[in-house]
């Protein structure tokens, strides 16, 4: 009986160790992805890190279902995105930002605007005004190293859909910033 218990315990330990090793690999290369996705929504480093932490913790709890690397990354992107949206909605920051973004009556020349913090604020504001489907595609495409095929894999949608959404997002952003 003791031998059986020891054997079962040993196999459980080895299973745990294997999962732990795999999760350590994800921990090495995935937090940045979750962090940047959250940052694209929240524009706040500390809050983005909190969201990335929460997303990774949830990933750990569900890791037995997410051992496949691509599936893990897609799940992590969606989770970080939703958590960031929940956080921004709960805090009511959207309304505060919109109130703070009332135009002051005159628009500076585009060349000087593009090099300023003000331009960054306007980009963020325009990005926030995009429909969610366009926004997440735009954020993921802006994260270094992701092309349309990879964005399609992360969102589990066809690559053609990613291309058309990306074009619409860029066009709307360009119009908003002109």
């Amino acid at each position: 009986m003791d031998a059986l218990a020891a054997s079962l315990s040993g196999s459980a330990v080895s299973l745990d160790l294997a999962l732990e090793r795999e999760f350590e690999q994800r921990l090495a290369d995935c937090p940045t992805l979750a962090y940047r996705v959250a940052l694209g929504v929240l524009r706040n480093f500390a809050e983005a890190e909190d969201v990335a932490q929460e997303a990774m913790l949830r990933a750990y709890r569900n890791f037995h279902r997410l051992r496949d690397r691509e599936r893990f990354r897609a799940w992590l992107v969606r989770t970080a995105w939703r958590l960031a949206l929940d956080r921004i909605r709960a805090a009511g920051r959207r309304e505060r930002r919109e109130r703070a973004a009332i135009p002051d009556g005159h628009a500076p020349p585009f060349e000087s605007l593009a090099a300023s913090r003000e331009f960054e604020r306007r980009v963020a504001q325009a990005l926030e005004a995009l429909p969610e489907k366009l926004r997440i595609v735009m954020v993921l495409a802006a994260i270094e190293g992701y092309n349309t095929r990879e964005v399609a894999a992360l969102l589990e949608i066809p690559e053609g859909t990613v291309k058309s959404r990306l074009f619409l997002a860029r066009k709307q952003l360009a119009k908003a910033l002109q």
Binding site: A12, G40, Y60, F110, R122, L173
Partner: protein
Amino acid sequence: MTCGEHSGGISDWATDAALGQLHPAQEAKLLAHAGECDACREAYRHAREVAAAVDRGVESLVAGEPSPYFATRLRSRIAAEPVPLRNYGLAWTPVVAGVLALAALVALLLRTPQRTVPRQTTSAGASPARLAGATVSPMMRHSETQPRERHSRVLAAAIQSQEPEVLVPRGQLAAALRWHDAIASGGIDGSRLATSQRAIAGLLEVRDIDAAPLEKPAPIADSVDENGPLLNPISVSGVL
């Protein structure tokens, strides 16, 4: 091509071209026109600047790295997890518990009629318990609402226990149930009851009825005697 040829204006074409989404034939027209028109050349240049700035702006929004303490903080949170769901088996625990509970419930339902309900095959259209006005148990009420189900359960129980079925005459189910409950609970000694029933059956004897032959009636008088009977008496005797 002229500046007003496109319905949306030259800026739409310029934006689409800057984003790389304008049809090649249209892009060639735009570029040819921009070579001749200063305003459209300026619009195209501006659109390209804006498109590039949009990409740079969004990239700058998402540029950043988590802090160096990210992994350490995450590991400490993982260590504080109450029940780490690392084992595959744990995920099935609620399912296994549910199946076991369901199996126990089914076993209880199948076992209960065998213990409390006497075997009977009456096809009671009306409830015998209601007819008798007796106080019925929850199981009896259940049997009223679902007689077929109960009947099949009783049959199954009888087959399982290899005991003969008891035929209950129509309308006497409630009384039979009460007898069964009384005997099963020990309130009545079943063996004594059976002995006394046999003794009573022994006392009962069917005999022929002795009847005197009918006499010929007397002719009816015109005037009836006030004290005399109208008809001759018939002697009937017999003992049950």
